[in-house]
Amino acid sequence: MSVQTAVVLAAGEGTRLRPLTRNRPKPMLPAANRPILEHVLDALVDASVRHIVLVVGYRRERVQEHFGPTYRDVSLEYVVQGKQLGSGHALLQAREVVDGPVLVVNGDRVIEASSVRDVAGAYEEGSAAAAIAVLEHPDTGQYGAVTLRDREVADIVEKPDTDEYRLINGGVYAFSPSIFDAIAETPREAGELALTDTLSRLLDSERVRGVHTQGLWVDATYPWDLLAVADEVLARGRVAEPLRGDRVWVHDEATVHPDATLRGPVVVGPDSEIGPGAVLGPTVSLGGNVTVGPNATVERSVVDIDARVDAGSTLRDAVLGGGVHLGAATTIPGGPADVRVGSRVFESQRLGAVVADRTQVRGGASFAPGTLVGPNVTVGPGVHVTGTVSEGAEVVR
C-alpha cells in the first residue's frame, strides 16, 4: 500500500454516550475489553500503515497514556485539537505533520483492515481526488447517507430525515494533500467544520470514489450500544487474550478459581480475579484488574477496568464503568426496558443498567431494568435504583 500515513480523529467526547464519557473520550470506551481505538489502530497497522497521527482533544491524557509513542512498532504522533469544532477542523490540525496522500479514519468506530486497504487501493488507482468507504446500514438517519452512481459518490447528506437512503459513509477516507485547502475554504456551519461538508463541496468539481466495504463495522451511539458492540467483537474473536477453551479467552496474568464456570464467549483481562462458584457468560467482557467474587453470576455484560463485583451478585445486560464497586448480593436483573434519556424514550432496549465510573454500591441493592447511573454515585445498602441518577448523588432508601 503506498498510502502509509493515517490520521485518526480521536478528539471528540461522544456526548450521547454520557455518563460513560465522564473521564475519557468515546474512542477509549471498551469494545469488549479493549478500547475502540485499539481496534481502529489494529486495522490500520494490519493494513500496513506506517505512520499514525492521532488528533486528540477531550481528555487526551487517557489516549496518550494508553498508547504512548508507538503502537505495534508503528510510530504515533499526537496533535491537539483544543476546541472540538467538527471533524474537518480536527483533520486540519494534522496539516503540519502530514505530507502526501493520507488516510483518515474515525477513532470511535470498530473497523477492519480490509476496509482500510480497499479505500487506499481505490484511491491509488489514481482516477479520483478522494475515496471513501460506504456500507449498508439500517439506520442511515444517524450517519452521513450516501448515494453512489457507478462507483462514484453522487451525493452525501448528513443525518437525513427520510428513509430513502441505504448506504452510509463508513468514516474511512483517502485524500490527496489538497484536502487541507478544501477544508480551509469550506464555510463554517454554526462555527463548526464537518468533513462531510467539505466532501459535498468536493463533489461539485471532483470525482470521489465510493468503496463498498463488507467488513466488521460497529458503532456505539448510546451507552447500551456497548453491549451490542461487545457481542460483535466477541463473535469474531477480536480479543488480545489467549484462547483457553471454547470461545473463552483469559489473560496469562488473570486468576480464575477452578470452581468458577466460564461459558463462552467470555474474555478476562490481565490481573483480574474470578472467585469460586462464579458463573460468567455467555458474552461477558472483563477489563483489567476486575474482581468477581464467589458465587456471582454475570451474563451479557461489559465490566470495565478496576471494577469489583462482590460475592453473590447477579448482573445481566449491564455496562459497568471503570472502578465501579458493586457490594455483595447486588442485583441487576436485565432488560428489556424503556430507557429514558432527557425527553427521549428508547423503547424495549435490552439493558439491565449502565453504571458509570467509580460508582460505589453498598450491597444488597437492586437496579430496575434500563437504569442509568452517573459516575461517583454512592448507592446505600439495599436500595432499589430506578431511572436516571446523576453524578455524585447519594442514593438512600
Binding site: V56, V63, Q64, P69, T70, Y78, T255, T291
Partner: protein, 596 residues
C-alpha cells in the same frame, strides 16, 4: 555523574548513533557534551560543547565528522565548571587518543603532576584528562593500543566507566570500576553505554560488565579481567520498549510519568497479590523473616525508606531508615538486621557504598530497585524489583509510587500482618490514582500560590514521608524554598516561618487519632493566617480550616499516602510549569547520582 556511549559497526551512521544515544542519556547530565570519531586510516575528529545536546548539534551543524567508530559523553560537572575545554572527550598531546569517562579518578593529582613533569600539556581542569595522556605514554615504544589502554587503566584509583578510541583503529576499548557500563550486542554493530536506553533503539541484547572488567569491541566483543583472561559473559535480553522513552504528546516527561502511575502500579503488583486468597506472593523473598530492618537510601528513595520502616515497625519488626551518605560514614550496629538499599537506578553511589559497608560487617543486604542488572541488584544478596519502567524526568514520580507499593508487598510477605484489608486497597490503587489524575484541582492551587516565597508540607505517621517528598519535589523543579515537617514538630520551631504568604499543605486522611491531631496542627497554622491546602479523603473536618482542598478517594491509610503524594506531584509540576522551569532537567541536578 555523566553518561558515556561508544559504538562500532554503524559505518556512516556512527555520528548519528552517538548523538542519538547521548540524547537518551541526557538525564545523567546535561551541562556539556561531545563526540570523537575515527576509522581505519583516518585521524581523530572531535567536537564538544558546553551546554545541552542541542548545543552539540549546533556545533556539529557546520562540520563534517567522519569515522566508523566513536565515543560520546554527556557531562554533569564534578571537577571543573562546564566549559568547552572541560567537556569530554579528552585527548592526549598529539591528538591521537580520545577518552570519555564517568566517575571520579581519586589519584588524578599525583598522576597529573607526574605527566606534567614528563612534558605533557593539560588543557582542562578535569580528572579525566590524565587518562588519554597515560595512554599516550604507554603507546610510546609501540605496544598495541589494547596493551596501552590496559596499562593506563591499571594506574587509576577511584570509580570509572571509561571508553577510549585510538586514531586509525576501528576498535572501542572500555573498562569499568564502580561506575555502570553495559554492552549492547546488535546484529551488525556493537555498543557500550552507561545505561541501556542509549542503544535500546538498535538492540535489546545486553551484557552487564562487572567491576575490574575490560572490554574490546571491534567486529566482535571480548571481555577480559584485569589480567587479560577472557571472561564468559551471559547475554541478557532487556524487555523495556523503546516506545517508553518518548514524550507522547505531553509537554514534559515528568507529566507523562505522573500519568503513567496507574500502569506502573499495575506492573508492580502483577502476579504478586491474591485478593480472594488474601495473600501476597513475592517468591523466595517471602521466606525472609528479618528480626530487624535498616533501610539506606537518598532523596526520594529515602522518603520511601521512612515509609517502609513505619510499615515494618507496625508489624512488630524493629526498623529504621538512614540517609545512605550518613550511614556509610558512621555505620550503626546492624545486629541481625537485613539492610535494604532503595535505589531507583541501582547505581546511586552513596547507597552502594552504604550497602557495601553493611555487607563488610556481615549483614545480609537487599536492593529494592527499578533496574534489572544494576550494580545494587547484582551486589546484594537479594533484589526486589519495583517494575515501574524507565523514568526519564530527573524528579522521581512514578518510581516513588511503585516503591511504596513494592515496600508494602515486602512488609506483608516478610513481616506478616493481616493482608486481607491491604490487598484489596493495593488492587484499588491504580484506579484510585487514575481518579486523582482525572479530577485533580492541583492546577488551580498552583495558579493561586505560584508566587509564594515558601511552601510548607505537614503530615503525621505514614504521611510524614509524604510531606517530606512533597517538599522535595517542590524544591527540585520550582527552585523555591520548601520544607516538610512532621505535623507535631511545627510548634517546636518551624511555626516561626509561617506567614500569611506561605501556603501550608496538610496531608490528613481518615478521622482517627492521627487525623484529629493533624487537624489541631492545621488550626495552629490557620490562626497565623497562613493559607491551608488540605490533601484529604474528606473523612475528617480538616476542610473547615482549609482554603483549598485536594481530594483523594477513601482507602486504606497505607494506600492514602500514595494518593496524597500524586496530588502534591501535580501541584509542584503545575507551579514549575507556570514559572517556566526546566522541569525534566532542573538546574544542578542529575537523575541518578553515581558520585559520593
Amino acid at each position: 555523574m555523566c553518561g558515556i556511549i561508544g559504538c562500532v559497526g554503524r559505518d556512516d551512521g556512527t555520528l548519528e548513533t552517538l548523538v542519538h544515544g547521548l540524547s537518551k542519556l541526557e538525564y545523567r547530565g546535561y551541562d556539556s557534551a561531545g563526540v570523537a570519531l575515527t576509522g581505519p586510516g583516518t585521524g581523530l575528529d572531535i567536537c564538544k560543547r558546553a551546554g545541552e545536546i542541542d548545543d552539540l548539534r549546533d556545533g556539529l551543524a557546520g562540520r563534517t565528522l567522519s569515522g566508523t567508530v566513536g565515543v560520546g559523553h554527556t557531562r554533569w560537572s564534578t571537577h571543573g565548571p562546564p566549559t568547552d575545554e572541560n567537556a569530554h572527550p579528552h585527548m592526549d598531546c598529539a591528538g591521537n587518543v580520545a577518552v570519555v569517562h564517568n566517575g571520579i579518578i581519586e589519584n588524578y593529582q599525583p598522576l597529573r603532576d607526574e605527566l606534567t613533569r614528563a612534558g605533557h600539556t593539560f588543557t582542562s581542569d578535569t580528572d579525566t584528562e590524565v587518562v588519554p595522556h597515560l595512554i599516550e605514554d604507554a603507546l610510546e615504544g609501540g605496544p598495541d593500543p589494547e596493551e596501552a589502554v590496559r596499562t593506563a587503566i591499571s594506574r587509576l584509583d577511584g570509580s570509572y566507566a571509561i571508553a577510549a578510541v585510538v586514531a586509525g583503529h576501528e576498535v572501542v576499548f572500555a573498562a569499568r570500576n564502580d561506575s555502570p557500563l553495559v554492552l549492547g550486542i546488535g546484529d551488525d554493530a556493537l555498543y557500550l553505554a552507561s545505561d541501556v536506553p542509549a542503544f535500546r533503539d538498535y538492540t535489546d541484547r545486553v551484557i552487564y560488565l562487572d567491576d575490574g572488567e575490560f572490554a574490546r569491541l571491534d567486529g566482535a566483543w571480548t571481555v577480559t579481567d584485569a589480567e587479560g583472561t577472557v571472561v564468559e559473559k551471559p547475554v541478557d535480553t532487556v524487555d523495556w520498549d523503546p516506545e517508553e522513552t518518548g514524550k507522547s504528546g505531553y509537554d514534559h516527561y515528568m507529566l507523562k510519568e505522573i500519568h503513567e502511575q496507574p500502569r506502573a502500579l499495575r506492573q508492580c503488583l502483577r502476579g504478586r497479590v491474591d485478593e480472594l486468597g488474601g495473600a501476597v506472593d513475592i517468591g523466595d523473598l517471602g521466606d525472609l523473616s528479618p528480626t530487624g530492618v535498616q533501610f539506606v537510601a537518598c532523596g526520594t528513595s529515602y522518603h520511601a525508606g521512612l515509609y517502609a520502616a513505619g510499615l515494618f515497625r507496625a508489624a512488630g519488626v524493629p526498623a529504621q531508615a538512614f540517609l545512605a551518605s550518613e550511614y556509610a560514614s558512621g555505620v550503626p550496629p546492624t545486629g541481625d538486621a537485613l539492610v535494604v538499599g532503595i535505589t531507583q537506578s541501582g547505581e546511586t553511589a552513596d547507597t552502594l557504598s552504604a550497602l557495601r559497608e553493611a555487607r563488610r560487617r556481615g549483614a545480609r543486604t537487599m536492593a529494592v530497585t527499578n533496574t534489572v542488572g544494576s550494580t545494587a541488584a547484582r551486589e546484594c544478596d537479594h533484589a526486589f524489583y519495583i517494575r515501574a519502567g524507565p523514568e526519564i524526568g530527573v524528579a522521581a514520580t512514578k518510581t516513588f509510587a511503585s516503591q511504596l507499593a513494592a515496600l508494602n508487598l515486602l512488609a506483608l510477605a516478610t513481616a506478616g500482618g493481616d493482608a486481607r484489608d491491604i490487598v484489596p486497597a493495593l488492587r484499588d490503587l491504580p484506579g484510585d490514582v487514575q481518579a486523582v489524575l482525572d479530577d485533580s484541582t492541583a492546577p488551580a492551587v498552583a495558579e493561586t500560590y505560584e508566587d509564594a516565597p515558601a511552601y510548607f508540607f505537614i503530615g503525621r505517621g505514614l504521611h510524614y514521608p509524604v510531606a517530606l517528598e512533597g517538599a522535595l519535589k517542590m524544591k527540585e523543579i520550582t527552585y523555591k524554598h520548601a520544607e516538610g515537617f512532621a505535623a507535631g514538630e511545627l510548634k517546636h520551631g518551624p511555626l516561626a516561618l509561617v506567614t500569611e504568604n506561605t501556603p501550608v499543605f496538610a496531608v490528613v486522611t481518615g478521622d482517627g487519632e492521627l487525623a484529629r491531631k493533624t487537624v489541631g496542627n492545621v488550626k495552629e497554622v490557620e490562626a497565623r493566617n497562613a493559607p491551608v491546602v488540605a490533601v484529604t479523603d474528606g473523612a475528617s473536618d480538616v476542610e473547615r480550616y482549609a482554603d483549598h482542598v485536594l481530594e483523594i478517594p477513601e482507602t486504606h491509610p497505607r494506600a492514602a499516602s500514595v494518593l496524597a503524594n500524586v496530588q502534591l506531584q501535580l501541584v509542584s509540576y503545575h507551579v514549575a510549569a507556570r514559572l517556566g522551569r526546566s522541569i525534566d532537567k532542573p538546574r544542578n541536578l542529575a537523575k541518578s547520582v553515581t558520585v559520593e
